[in-house]
Each structure stands twice: as structure tokens, then as C-alpha cells.
Amino acid sequence: MALNYRLVLENVSKKFGEFRLNNISFKVSKGEYFVVLGPSGAGKTLLLQVIAGIITPDSGRILIDGVDSTRLPPEKRNIGYVPQNYALFPHLSVYDNIAFGLKIRKAKREHISDKVREVSEKLGISHLLDRKVKSLSGGEAQRVALARALVVEPKILLLDEPLAAVDPVLRWSLRDYLREIHRMFKATVIHVTHDFTEAISLADRIAVLNNGSIEQIGTPQDVFYRPKSEFVAWFTRTENIYRGYAEPVGSGLSRVRVGSLEFTVCGEYRGWVVVSFRPEYVVVSRHKIRTSARNVIEGVLTDYMDEGALVLLKVMVNEKMVKAYITRSSFSEMKLRSGEKVYLYIKASQIHVIE
């Protein structure tokens, strides 16, 4: 029932120049942290603006707390919106920026002051209230923009790439900060991003948007480990994605031939499929070991990429590239070098099949 959801989108479509949002449907529960993940140009900002009421959809319905709000102007929706560049009012002080929504609602001066100070304290920006917005750093500006949106107690908080404009070091702390804000204000958040690590660390559920259409909606586990399309697998850096021909081999298993490579997968499949498995699911050894993994592959290490805590190995197997993650310490212990033979082990249950 729509009443149980804070936000429901039903077949929302919008043509915008050459671009089109196609039949977008999803439901967001009260207090949920919902992330819309997609590459640049997927339509994420347009989708947020349609939800905010800044742009009216051509067709479909938008329900907020069960009420049809499709044609409602933004000022009547009580939705907080933090755009990518924060869009602070440059002619107002930090205090007046945060107080703006309350002043528009003609709240009493004392109430405005109390609310601004309360929210500022919660967000740790009380010391900024007298500052001009031009003097704020990126992180400070983001907190002020969040305070401005939260002070009016919005039904939904829309965040457009909130971490894109800050440097990588600050991004980590702001990610924790967003999680904390979500808990503190019990807010229903819709956050759009192109960064899948941001999505996996914050989201209760994720919708993957590609070229104006939703490819998959699910928990981070669903999206990252059970992608429903080749695009979702690629975009979430599954790394090992192959098209092959599947045939059942009994005992609830199938064999998928990818050129001269063969994978044993769980489930009965017949015909052309896509198999995918994440590089962290691949076990690597220098010598053949006894294991329960049904897929044992011999290959040659051609290259590796140091990614900090992990090292990404690129192993050539019968003209196909297989990628595997190992920890930095394992990499050091194994003393691996390019050109050396290695064995890869992948469990059948950890290979995902997209029909």
C-alpha cells in the first residue's frame, strides 16, 4: 500500500531535450536511505528535480505519504534539496541561509533562532553562523546546505552527488557524517551518486539508473553480488564478465563455455548467458591446492595493480583475462611476479549467471 511509503514513483517519464527518463517506478519507505547509482548522463539529477517538483513529469505519478503530488509545485512538497554545488544564497550569512525556510514559513523570531541553533549544534557548525558563505570551505558549505534543508524538517531529503565536490580525504569523513545525520534526524534520504563505494557504504537500497531507465533495484548485496544486467555488473566493477553458452550437467549445476574456458555454475541453464564473478571471490595460489571449489583455472599473471590494501591481479587464461584481488600481505608473501603461472579457484555458488 502506497500509504506505508514516504515516496512512490509510478511509471514516471520525462523527455528533456534529447534525453528521456523512462517509466521510473520505485518506492521508498519512511526513514530509508535510498541511493540512485548511475554514470554521468544517466538522468540522476533530472530524476531528483522531478521528485522535488522543479520539473514536472510528462506522465506517471509521484505520491508523497500516499498523496498524489505529481503536479504540486516544489514549495508545497516539503522536500529538502541539496544540489551538487550546494547552491547557498551568496547574499546571506550562514545563519540567514539556514533560517531562510523558516522565515518563508513566517515562523516566530525566537523559534527561528532556537531551530537554527539546534540544527547547527547537531551538525557541528554553530561557530559558522556569523560567517559569509563565500568564506566557507567545501566541507563547511556542505554542512550549511544540509542544515538549511534539515531545519524545516522535510519529509524527504534529496542529495545530488553530495560528496563529488570534496577532496578524497574529506569524502571519507563526510560519508560517516551523512550516515550520522541520517540516524540523528531519522530522515528519508534519496542520494544520487556515480560512486559505487559511496552507494554500498550508505544505502539501505540502491537503484541503478542507466540512460534514463532503472536497471535494478535492491539491497547493496543484491546489486553488487547478483547484478541483473551486464551493465550493472560492469558499473559495479564486477570485473569478470563473460558471455558463454550454458548447458545443464545434472545435480543442479550447469557448465558455461566461454571460448576455450569453462565455468561450472549453480542452477540449470541452457543457451546464451552472461557469467560474472567479483575479483574478491577468486582465490589465488602459486601451486595447485586441494579445495572444494568446482572451478580451478591455470593461468599466467600478466600484470597487477596496487590499490592500497588490495592488489588486483590480471591473469591470462586461454586468451581471456581473469581478475582477482588478494591482500597486500598475501601478495608480498607469495612473491608474485608478472609472467609466472598461478592457479585460480572460484566456487560455483559465487559465479552469478545473467540470463
Binding site: Q49, A52, G53, I54, P73, P74, E75, R77, N78, I79, G80, Y81, V82, P83, N85, A87, L88, F89, P90, H91, F100, G101, I104, R105, A145, R148, A149, V152, P154
Partner: protein
């Protein structure tokens, strides 16, 4: 300290020719006419003409502000063929010789025209009248106001207005509380540029309303009737006033 890139010196040297071309007449006029400014300052006809010109120019700028500001906002925010079409119409006066603009205004709004006869019923007769001066000034200078103010609205991030709306402000409220304060500099600049353009108008004003005489028309009359020396005092005074306006404009633009 910013040092001039040596590669740019060639461009600066060539460009300085046009700077000198523009500056020399102004300096010459002020230098030669400076001694006679006090003479113009005690000339009743000259002072009257300056008063009428600036009065009509101010009214013209106020009318531009009242009607041009909403139009500039519409043109800035509405991205469509209608907006482009209106933009083209607004630029027409900039492309037409001003004497021709005067003829057009006379044909359209003189008391013998259908619209002019309606206007004359409410006391707005443009032939040889104060309102004729305002009409001529408005026709040639309002496009400058609209273009300047539109540039101001264009420079405001639309997301700022979007956020204000999500915070509960209606479109009108957003315009008054956010957009107008942020574009105040452009509105002031547009107002002063419009005023400066209006008081310097000659062609269209002479066709519609030779009387009451405005200063720029009086300069022409004295030059044609009595020669350069007769026109010099008023020219120097007008140049001084115009330069003062220009300096104020630059200060407003640099004001943060």
C-alpha cells in the same frame, strides 16, 4: 604582482591605437571647453535643456526598470523559441538608424495614428512634447537595460532558485527575496547605462520632439547655427556630466 606577459605586448601595442583614438577627443573637448563650462553653467537655455534631458532620461530608465526587469527575467529563465524571438525583437532598435526609429515612432504613436489617438485621449501626445522625448529615448535605450539585466539574471545559478522553492518560497517570493538582491548590481548598471544612452540620444528625439529641447539637440542646433565655438561650452559640460555618470557606473560594477 602581475607581470605583463612579453608575448602579449604586441597585442597591447596594436590595441593601444584604438584606445588613443577614443580617449583623445574626450580629453581635447574637456581641455578646450573646460574654460567655458562656467559659461554654460550660467546659460539658462543650456541648463533647461540639461534638466529636460535628464528628467526624461530618468523617467525612461524608470519605465525600463518597471517593465524591462520582469521581461529580462522571463528571457533569462524561459529557454524556448518564444524567448529567442522576443530577444531578436528587442535588439531591433539597436540595428536601426535612430532618425529612422524616430520616423517609426511618429507613424505608430503620433496623434494621427490609431494608437496615438488613444494615447492622446489620456493626455499622451508625442509630437513636440515631453512625452515624445521619453518615447524616443525609451525606444533606443530600453534594449540596453533589458540586455544588461538579463545578463545579471543569467549569471545567477538556477539551482539557488530551485533550493529556495523547495524551502517553501513561491516563484514570485524567490524572485523578490533571492534573485533581485543577487542581481542588484546589474539592475543599477542597467539603469545608469540606460540613462546615459537616453540623455545622449539625438536622432529619434529630433524627429519626434524638437521641442522641448534637450541638451544633445541644443548642441547640434548651436553647432549648425553658430559654429564650433558656440557648441563647445555645452559640449564640455555634457561630457563632464556623462563622464561622472560613467565613473559612478564603474564604481557600482566594482562594488562587492
Amino acid at each position: 604582482m602581475i607581470t605583463l606577459n612579453r608575448d602579449l605586448i604586441v597585442f597591447a601595442a596594436v590595441g593601444s591605437v584604438i584606445v588613443l583614438f577614443l580617449v583623445i577627443p574626450v580629453i581635447t573637448c574637456l581641455a578646450e571647453g573646460g574654460a567655458y563650462i562656467s559659461e554654460a553653467a550660467s546659460d539658462v537655455d543650456a541648463l533647461d535643456s540639461i534638466y529636460v534631458g535628464f528628467h526624461a532620461g530618468t523617467v525612461c530608465s524608470l519605465v525600463s526598470l518597471l517593465f524591462g526587469t520582469p521581461l529580462a527575467y522571463f528571457l533569462s529563465r524561459w529557454r524556448g523559441s518564444l524567448s529567442s524571438f522576443i530577444q531578436s525583437i528587442i535588439e531591433i532598435p539597436l540595428a536601426i538608424p535612430h532618425s529612422v526609429a524616430g520616423i517609426m515612432l511618429l507613424l505608430a504613436y503620433s496623434s494621427r495614428s490609431p494608437i496615438g489617438s488613444l494615447l492622446s485621449n489620456v493626455g499622451l501626445v508625442i509630437e513636440d512634447s515631453y512625452w515624445g522625448v521619453v518615447f524616443a529615448m525609451l525606444f533606443v535605450s530600453s534594449p540596453i537595460y533589458i540586455t544588461t539585466v538579463k545578463a545579471g539574471f543569467d549569471s545567477i545559478d538556477v539551482e539557488i532558485e530551485n533550493v529556495a522553492r523547495t524551502l517553501g518560497a513561491s516563484r514570485i517570493k524567490v524572485f523578490l527575496e533571492v534573485t533581485l538582491p543577487l542581481s542588484l548590481k546589474h539592475i543599477l548598471a542597467g539603469f545608469i547605462l540606460t540613462l546615459a544612452r537616453a540623455v545622449s540620444e539625438v536622432g529619434a528625439v529630433m524627429v519626434i520632439a524638437y521641442y522641448p529641447k534637450i541638451a544633445s539637440v541644443l548642441v547640434i542646433e548651436r553647432f549648425l547655427g553658430y559654429g564650433l565655438r558656440s557648441a563647445l561650452a555645452l559640449s564640455a559640460l555634457l561630457a563632464l556630466i556623462s563622464l561622472t555618470i560613467f565613473v559612478i557606473l564603474r564604481l557600482i560594477i566594482r562594488w562587492k
